[in-house]
Symmetry: C2
Subunit: 464 residues, 2 copies
């Protein structure tokens, strides 16, 4: 971690802030990447944050603000006077500005909006139409646009004007007079062709694009699948509205992976965007308490099943030796199947209508896993246990016991595996989130079914 | 999923293959993205694959082969005659070629190597030096290189020669006569400056780069943190060896997320790169069986603890009602803490030496979570349970029972939370994989400690 290295510029900036040495701070801050400044800002206290932003001023702070966790943005803008704030808001790229408008309070939104220039006001209003997690909500409108009737020279003139604004010039899009997307050229094609070449002759067709109202995850998947630098975003009339860039795709993918992992781990609520250590205990508590309490009370159901089978357990208390094993194996096997399917869903590998193929694959996998466990545990009980458990079991032989436990664990693993695979698919089919539904409900169902299967099988085979 | 749509070009190609209609196949295949052809190839049987590759020929097949899952690559190259194979291997980009050499059998590696041209032989040999998962193993050497003493015009002439080979021209690197990295320019700076401008005047310093021997994950994190399109890879003398591009970062991040998720879900072995449905039952079985069997046998330890406390349980069988709850809550709370810490480690949020701060944060979070559960369950036992469980418990009051269960669950959740957070950090500190160590060992330890805490607390408080 950069923060740990004493000789590094971020540590020097930190020391300059503590020493209230504005000129040293400014000199260093100009050489540092804004992402590192944003990381530093997060670790500072209020007074230090104020000193940092007052010293570097609104121009340098623009990119830093855009990089901050959403929950810190509104406060961070409070360090500036209205005139500075007007400059900073105008200096933001349009997608960052919209993001900020989407996350600040209603009161701040109105106040910030009044500071915008006329063009930015209109643009911001039109971008705020799109939900935060759609392609339209994520796109930037700052993209190179030319028309097919231009020459290379005319195109370069237009683009030169926009060069510092455009998020990327790796792909330049060709639109018709109505602004509809008709093609694309690469900057290298402009740079390496003679100035009188018509754009018409060097433009390519656009095969990949996305509707502004579609999910940002779908946009990220397209960028990733086709290795695109930029993906054009269009409306239903095929007007070019903006682009989503490769770095958005990276961010979206990472957010989604974190989200799925957290949901699988039984963690609820929104991601904080703050680093782990900067997240308060109260927030950590809030994100975990609900599922924990809910799951705890649900597991009284398993307790009730165990309690009901009290007579079986008391007649053959040796059964307690393998109770945790059978129950836990179901949870583990179901969790494995759910993880595979949830990840496959997230990567877009599983098409609608393949539920039966998945169930069949998991049924076979689960059966072999269950049999492996069953045979192993049967061998253990009939061959090894007798040496360690001298008092012969109550009213049955070790062989009978091994049969009962083996049958129970095979059934439990088979059923949990199929259930673990089908729960996420069912959730997706009824438009629920696969990860959030599967992990906790799976654990609860499989614990109860494990108790039932174990005691039911044992009672039947051992005639208890 | 595209495959489901009857009117789409991939379905048409599939039909052309089934109908053995080579000309229809070829006409369609040229319009389709290679990533889609690779997806289709995966779903075909051997004969269909052969027809597809024989029809489209080595040129079109080059990109498709590079996109295939590693396990299919060697077979896929078997469709071509030596002369075609020589063309295809030469046509691959150098990083894809090295990837292929890294994954095929020893026999194939020797045979393929003999088909390479002299320059490709040398390049491949020098790239094969780097481990597959290092920056050097992932980079491409196809990058725009110029020197500082050139003019814009000279630079453009050099780059025009390389234009189709270079992976990206978004960033062009400036090297000295020894090939050491001294700066960078953007293509737009070349395109928009006059032809006689010296490169010296428009070049920027390079702040971000990576050593070839560093982990590819670190490269991906740099690309993501600083929103880079390309990251230069250098040797210890700062010679420019190649670049890693944004699409590599996306792929690396996705592989790592999948890996972490699978490990957390108790799935072992290498990712197959095949889609879920194309992975055989045997492979699914192999990746899950080891952990499942291992965890099952470890959980006999919990069974043994339960068996040992047989007299306590028999004296107060009502305890069985809350046994699964106490044990499972520990597993859930520990899993939540481990998930948070493992993800924070993966995103590079946690620095070395912060173990104590993490433990302190989790201790407080765990205490509050444990108390929440303890108070809830105590209220349930003392206020609600008496109405549903008419026979008064054996030798103690509902109030005493509620106190015992509440203490046990608070202790269990607190200890499991701290343990869940510390296990991944400890694993990282001793250079083990946090995800692979934490989930399974956590489950085993927490189950046993839960049994011990539950019966120990109950025996002490209820004087059993």
């Amino acid at each position: 971690m950069p923060e740990e290295d004493e000789a590094n510029p971020i540590s020097e900036i930190r020391r300059a802030i503590i020493a209230q040495d504005g000129s040293a701070l400014l000199a260093k801050a100009e050489d540092v990447h804004y992402a590192d400044l944003a990381g530093l800002y997060e670790d500072l206290d209020d007074e230090e944050r104020d000193f940092l932003f007052k010293t570097i001023g609104p121009e340098l702070a623009t990119d830093v603000v855009a990089e901050l966790p959403y929950s810190l943005i509104e406060d961070s803008l409070g360090h500036f006077k209205p005139a500075q704030l007007r400059f900073l808001l105008g200096n933001l790229s349009d997608d960052d500005r919209v993001d900020i408008f989407q996350v600040v309070s209603e009161e701040a939104r109105v106040r910030f909006f009044s500071l915008l220039g006329t063009r930015d006001k209109e643009l911001t209003k039109s971008l705020l139409k799109y939900e935060e997690d759609t392609a339209g909500g994520r796109m930037t409108t700052q993209v190179g646009r030319i028309t097919a009737d231009m020459t290379v020279k005319q195109a370069l003139t237009i683009l030169r004007r926009d060069r510092e604004d455009a998020e990327t010039l790796a792909r330049i899009f060709v639109v018709d007079v109505q602004g509809r997307l008709v093609g694309k050229v690469r900057l290298r094609d402009l740079a390496f062709n003679t100035w009188d070449t018509p754009i018409q002759d060097i433009m390519d067709t656009v095969d990949e694009f996305i509707l502004a109202t579609e999910d940002q995850e779908d946009a990220a998947r397209l960028l990733s699948r086709y290795d695109l630098v930029v993906l054009p975003v269009v409306d239903e009339f095929h007007h070019l509205l903006g682009v989503i860039t490769y770095d958005d795709a990276l961010e979206i993918m990472q957010e989604e992976s974190t989200e799925d992992m957290e949901k699988l781990g039984g963690i609820g609520g929104e991601q904080t965007e703050l680093t782990y250590l900067n997240t308060s205990v109260a927030t950590h508590y809030r994100r975990r308490a609900a599922w924990l309490v809910c799951l705890a009370f649900v597991s009284i159901a398993s307790g009730y099943v165990m309690f009901s089978f009290g007579d079986v357990l008391q007649k053959a208390f040796v059964l307690s030796l393998f109770l945790p094993m059978v129950v836990a194996s179901g949870g583990n096997a179901g969790g494995q199947a759910a993880t595979m399917v949830i990840r496959a869903l997230a990567l877009g590998e599983i098409a609608a209508g393949t539920a039966l193929r998945i169930a069949w694959k998991e049924a076979r996998t689960g059966l072999f896993l269950g049999l492996t466990l069953g045979v192993s545990i049967a061998a253990f009980i009939s061959l090894i246990l007798p040496h360690f458990h001298p008092p012969a079991p109550d009213s049955f032989s070790f062989l009978q016991l091994s049969l009962a436990v083996a049958c129970a664990i095979t059934l439990q693993v088979l059923s949990a595996t199929v259930l673990g695979a089908l729960l996420p698919i069912t959730a997706r089919a009824i438009k629920l989130d696969p990860a959030v539904v599967s992990a906790p409900s799976l654990a609860s169902i499989v614990d109860v079914s494990g108790m039932l299967i174990y005691f039911g099988t044992a009672a039947a085979i051992l005639r208890l």
